[in-house]
């Protein structure tokens, strides 16, 4: 079953991004494309052999809690064992902590393969890497010695414990408390909700990264500290010792993404939950946010690949299913055509192709920014790349969550009634993907992050930089007659974005911050469409240049140009009404009275 398109991944990595140029930097010395390809080959093999086969089964038999332990389909552990044994957990980590020090772009490309095969099973390493990143950046040498190594070996798994039953989007309101104990550790008490991977027997230990307040800390987000709370306390010789006071209070039963067990955890029910402060007190949320770019790009990648796997299923089906005749053919005895011949099925497929290939190009571009920043020649360049990454992150998280979900909806439509059954993966992928607009900051939160913070920070420097990058691509495109129409459309959109953003930016100074943010989500979708149009223009440019000598690859590049045209004609025009709405500071939603609903 097609779940993944290696040709296009290679196109993005090597033809669009030129990832192998990273090998010129000392950090990646000795690495080359052949090495990257080998790693990708291994990812494809393990994903195909171990992740894909149980994706439907684990959806049908979700994790269960019998009051004593959590039961998870055994194939999940087998897949994760294969993943661990191949060394993927440590792929992008530094050599000095046992990592392979591969570019993060390559690690994410591998993640794309696993997410496409089975996003729920891939959830465990995704979270473990996020927790390990935190520990690597802010944990003490002692904490790293005890926990980081086993995590990178995949023997310990990690979780991120932020939300509570009464505090999801509003972390300022978390109630979990951490009381200093005489021994130097803290006693943690509180409940954490929506904890993915919170309890299972898939690993020797679980390392919870927990946000909590130390008594006396200021109210709000500035009073939050970060704690490492292991399921098992360190025992003799570093092996897991006695069980810590972390109790599973229940499982959440989800619409999809079911291989990843999701839990409500009670910390300190018996008053003996030991936690270790990570870094300095009251900097917990700041630490989290420093790791947030990577985590949010990871969510965007997952959303992209749910959509991508759906697209490939729909494409395979459309290429094999005969049904009906073309409109001009009124002869009922003529043979039926394959449904891919029907214009509306092609529309559904092009819509998916434009969404998922556009999103993948964006997400891997962001991953490449992480690598480029890490290997930048100087501080100015590092700052520039960091700014770009900051403004693109909410888009890379949100656009795929919204529009690759739409792709999943289209995939079901291509299969018709069959797509609505559990005999094909498309309905599951649609259900899996629906989570991505919710976790790691909802769609609405991303909009506020983008317009309320990223766009306005430093006098609008990040947006200015992004638009300059887009305009550099426009300049490149101007030489190509085939792209003229698109260049003009995108140039017009960029000019309007500048103008409307400038007008919006004045509102906070007039005491109208709420009005500025009233349509932040519309701004998010709008700028997302502009950015995806940009990734398409860049792909079309590469295709344009490659076409001259393309040979048997001709169709591939034609497909790129056509998907670009689709996006520019069917999708980019949506930004005009969005910009109109933003330009008028529309307050329809802001001022709607509660009683009038």
């Amino acid at each position: 079953m097609a779940f993944f398109d290696r040709r296009n991944l290679d196109f993005i990595l090597y033809e669009l991004l030129g990832v192998e140029t990273l090998c010129g930097h000392p950090r990646h010395a000795g690495q080359d494309r052949a090495m990257f390809d080998g790693v990708l080959d291994t990812a494809v093999r393990i994903a195909t052999e171990h992740f894909l086969p149980h994706a439907a089964q684990v959806d049908a038999t979700e994790p269960e809690y019998d009051g004593t332990r959590v039961h998870i389909l055994p194939q999940v552990k087998a897949a994760l064992d294969a993943y661990r044994e191949a060394g993927f957990m440590a792929a992008a980590f530094d050599a000095d902590v046992g990592g392979l020090q591969l570019p993060w772009t390559i690690a994410q490309a591998c993640g794309a393969v696993f997410a496409a095969a089975n996003i729920g099973t891939y959830g465990y390493p995704l979270l473990t890497v996020a927790a390990a990143n935190l520990l690597r950046a802010f944990g003490s040498a002692e904490q790293q010695a005890a926990f980081l190594g086993p995590m990178l070996e995949g023997r310990y798994f990690g979780t991120m414990c932020l939300s509570e039953p009464q505090a999801g989007s509003s972390l300022a309101d978390i109630r979990t408390r951490a009381q200093p104990a005489a021994e130097g550790h803290y006693l943690v008490r509180g409940s954490k909700m929506w904890i993915s991977g919170g309890e299972h027997d898939l690993a020797e230990n679980i390392v919870h990264m927990v946000l909590a307040r130390i008594p006396g800390a200021p109210a709000g987000v500035k009073g939050i500290s970060l704690f490492l709370v292991p399921k098992y306390l360190p025992g003799v010789n570093g092996a897991p010792g006695v069980r810590n006071d972390v109790a599973l209070a229940g499982l959440n039963h989800k619409m999809g993404y079911r291989a990843t067990v999701n839990t409500l955890l009670n910390f300190g029910e018996q008053g003996r939950c030991i936690g270790y402060l990570v870094g300095e007190p009251q900097r917990g949320l700041e630490y989290m946010f420093q790791m947030m770019n990577e985590a949010r790009i990871g969510v965007g990648l997952g959303a992209t690949m749910c959509g991508y796997a759906g697209y490939l299923s729909a494409l395979e089906y459309a290429r094999g299913r005969p049904q009906g005749r073309l409109p001009e053919n009124k002869d009922p005895t003529a043979p039926q055509v394959l449904i891919i011949e029907h214009a509306d099925v092609r529309r559904l497929l092009l819509a998916q192709k434009a969404a998922v290939e556009g999103a993948l190009a964006l997400v891997l571009y962001c991953a490449h920014l992480v690598d480029r920043r890490r290997t930048a020649a100087d501080a100015a360049e590092r700052e520039r790349l960091g700014l770009l990454l900051d403004i693109l992150t909410p888009i890379a998280k949100s656009w795929p969550s919204e529009f690759c979900l739409e792709a999943n909806k289209h995939a079901i439509q291509v299969l018709g009634g069959y797509g609505y059954t559990r005999d094909y993966p498309v309905e599951r992928l649609y259900r899996d993907n629906r989570l991505n607009a919710i976790h790691e900051g909802t769609h609405g939160i991303q909009g506020i992050d983008l317009l309320g913070r990223k766009v306005t920070m430093r006098g609008g420097a990040a947006l200015h930089l992004l638009l300059s990058e887009i305009e550099a691509t426009l300049a490149e495109g101007r030489g190509h007659a085939a792209l003229d129409e698109h260049v003009a459309s995108l140039a017009g959109a960029c000019a309007r974005v500048r103008e409307v953003t400038a007008a919006l930016s004045l509102l906070p100074g007039e005491g109208r911050l709420g009005l500025m943010l009233a349509n932040a989500t519309v701004y998010l979708d709008m700028l997302g469409h502009v950015v995806i149009a940009w990734t398409w223009l860049r792909q079309a440019l590469v295709a344009e240049r490659a076409l001259a000598a393309a040979g048997e690859q001709h169709d591939f590049y034609i497909g790129k140009q056509r998907a670009c045209r689709y996006f520019f004609r069917y999708e980019l025009p949506r930004v005009q009404p969005w910009l109109d709405l933003l330009a008028r500071f529309d307050d329809t939603c802001l001022t709607m009275s509660v009683a009038a609903f």
Copy 2:
């Protein structure tokens, strides 16, 4: 739990449509609003007591086939027994066949209540009424005597057997055969796929309405005849007799809509499947299509109510869940606000309100057209109403299937992580609703029906009539300053629709039918937005007039005006890019090569 809004249903029935004026016609003599209200009260009671309580449970425990019989959660039968006993099956049928002869609008309003409570369980009467309608219109007196009465009493259920495993959208290619037998009946042989309600013990008998070919019939849709194939043949005294040769070959396991068992049926495996020809040979599809308006409006109603129930759940949640503070409030010790105070949550709620209340107004307007046509004073008026109904039917079916599904997506978002769990109904409603764009003619098929048939037929008479109706509303709106902006927007859109449609209509004559239909789905969505804007303008006009004397109803009417404004500012502007695309006869999808995907 809120699943249904009686106040708004009354608004649409009485303030917007003025349904009670039908009582002036002999067909509805002796009926009045009090009677309608009583019927609706009963529907609400039965839906609340018998349909709603098991909606989640039947989703979790879908119908199962043990090789001998189909097991369905017992509450489904209990609910259908209550429905039958209250006489709902025959609500809109003529008194002379035992019906209550209520307006179809009132019957549909009751259907709205049942669909909102539990669309899967409501599927059985929905199908039974559709089959009974066919039988009533085209069945012989003998067939009606044997089957129609028990169906209207709810003792026999019905099915519609059109699709086959190899023929879904393309009915021209069905293979089921009906061979005349000496006794006057036919021997039916073939497989029928996606048959809802195809096998169960919920009723004494199942009446399958089956499309099949008589040997020697012409190829294509013109060679299809309609047969009545009962599960049990008529026995002594009309009671169900011996079992007919209809075998359950398997169940389809769906993403949602699970209370309605969906089957693959084999007819005539043992060569003794008896079917009775309905009406004349080779007119089967014609008969089906004469009943199609009602069936498709029924699908649109179901889609609307899935979205509506989701909206009310989200609204209830948003009114009770505290989270975060408004952007201007930087004090973390200030109490949290209810999430309905957040502009983006209000946006999500207004988007749902605008979609579901707009769609319900359209669907019930269409139902009212059916009643008005049936009670029209003369043939000219009957024809006029029939034309309006013809052009609105694909929109009434499709717009809710697409945009009330979007509402379900938003409902999940309002609840955040909770919305993604099975503890709340919103994720189930999203899954249930996804079927509606597929069955009874896919979204793409509706687009072709609209642009390729309804819009162009009789020199464009139906579209002309629809636009004239819209323009009559615009004329009414011109006196109201509060609506000026909306009147101008909709007038502009209508003018452009005329112009673009005229250009598209020339294409078939130039041998470019395929090009005209290449963006038929875009045309469908576009005209749908125009029509929903119209229903909103009409609702806003009623609200405008009512506000003067509204008293405690003030907020309700303000809500109508605000939802109207939302739709005109956030949704109607989407038609411009759609019209641009249509105006340029875009062939991006039509000419995409298969190899380039």
